[in-house]
Amino acid sequence: MVEILSSVMDGLLIGLVYGLAAIGLTLIFGVMDVVNLAHGAIIALGMFFLYLFFGAGLHPYLALLPVAVLGFIFGVIVYQIAVRKIISGPPLMSLLATFAVSMIIIGVGTALWSTSPYNINFKVTTYNFFGYTVTSARLVSAVAAVLVTFGLYYFLYRTVLGKAVRAVANNREAAELMGIPSQQILAITFGIGTMLAMLSGALIATLFPFTILSGGVYELKSFVASVLGGLGNPTGALFGGIILGLIEGSVAPFIQVSWTNVIEFVIFVGILLFFPTGLFGGRK
């Protein structure tokens, strides 16, 4: 019984981090209809930014701050160079533009760091609650994910800028008529989405070893989580991430772990087909 509960708890904790990554993806889609195929590469970049700051002597949790700032700036730059021009074009264009960005990031990353695995080696404490063993790293990453999500909600619902983002998401033309500079808002949104992706990457890096190619796995997980929650719906994405984590944790005791991915992708395609707006409704 404790073992099953352990699995469920582990799933919940990692699911929150998946959720954070998925929010980054779904926010960009919700506001500008762009499926960001550079998402995985950006997650990996977040891992390596953390690695650099950690290497420079910063505690990994303290290093999250500069990673977030870099992530935002990086996202705005990517938007201005690669996305701005084709934002109103057919979906193929934005898919390919962001994929090109992904190739460039991974290419430069491979040249810099090769594709060998890296580790953030810092002191991790292990706690035991009634037979459930959990490391401090897992707890902190889940709490950090929740805090960042709250921060995002505060931004979207309590600040003028955040309300402008929601207005642009709702109807870009109408927002422009109301005098909201939509290009700037889109750039900021892309920056925030990128920042969230990098933060989730950085949190994952405190848990598991990573390579410049690791982002691919989490990109796919983000797709699954955001589609589960309804593309464009940040809350849904968070819950999608939790569901994904719970699936991974809770099916493990009953079937071979390697089947988990099959289940995830079958659910993914199934949700797209039968509940295209996800379990929690589409964009809001």
Binding site: F208, E248, V257, S258
Partner: protein, 398 residues
Amino acid sequence: MKKKWMFLVLVAIFGMAFAQTVKIGLTVSKTGKFNVESVNQLNGIKLWQKWVNDQGGIAAGGKHYKVELKFYDDESKAQRVQQLYSRLISQDKVDFLISPYSSGLTAKAAIISEQYGKIMVATGAASDSIFKLGYENVFQVYTPASRYLTSTVDMIKAADPSLKKIAVVYEDSKFAKAVATAARDYAKKLGLDVAIFEGYPPSTTDFGPLINKIKASGAGALIGGGHYSDGATFARQLYEQKAPLKMIALLVAPASDEFAQLGDAALGVAAPSQWEPLVKYTQSCGPSPQQFTEMYEKAYGKEPAYRAAGGFAAGLILQKAIMDAGSVDAAKVRAALDNLDITIFFGKIKFSTDPASHGLQLGHEMVQIQWQKKDGKLVKEIVWPLAAKTAKLIYPIH
């Protein structure tokens, strides 16, 4: 003036006579998941090249062949391996091949070597199945998967006859699956209960769900793993999650020096190893284990891992076969390899000539190592077979 000309002509003729080369091609995983192991292996091969060229090359049939290596980066990707081996054969016109690292990549390369009839010495590849496809040109250096973990099971059984349940959790790759399957069957034969037998995808980084499952199963010992990166991660998370295991034996990863970076997580972890610097084999040709170790340490500043030794051994085996054949003619060298039955610093080498398993390694044997603390430092000790041990097995580890 005339004399000078004569001299130059003579030099040219001699030069041509002595400047015979034999070209050996291979791919190396300079990037990707096999990066650590593969570069190790290449170091061994390069050391052999230098060693043999310093002696004037391979002496065969009254000629001396300098060894030339040609290699590309395969990025640890199967699809690159086949393209590059085709290129080595058809464009670079190499005479012989050495395999890439890992069973998966070697299986791919073997097809090409066979399609073009080129001899390939396979090192860093333990899978048996490559040698069950009717190949005639591929020869295995390592102890094959079917015998890889059996002595580990013996060791555990000897240390704790009361142990009932073990878990076998392996990387879902060609090599690890073959090894794990053989180990499971062997463990069952010894009367052990294999509580979990399960593979994980090679890209796994989160072993949490598996570890929870192992804990729930009540298994007392774990054997499994796969290659370096997954194995190191697995060991670290087993330690962090405080898995109550009396013995952990993983493939490949603990046999590398890099494993010491795990710190306390490495302590007590055992591994089967193809070779260790402290082994005591009496070689019939080539350097002794000790000479090889010294040479390697001098060249690279660290102790050789068994993959490096395997790389050197692959070159040495090819060299011996060319010497026996007295030429670089493929058919003659193939026959020489078939007839080979020698002991080198790496151990005994003899290939199967049965058409159903041609090229499979029959001679070589594994040793078991365990990470122990000696004077406050993590060190690898040979703990099995008992005759060769450098330290006593620590059991249970928790």
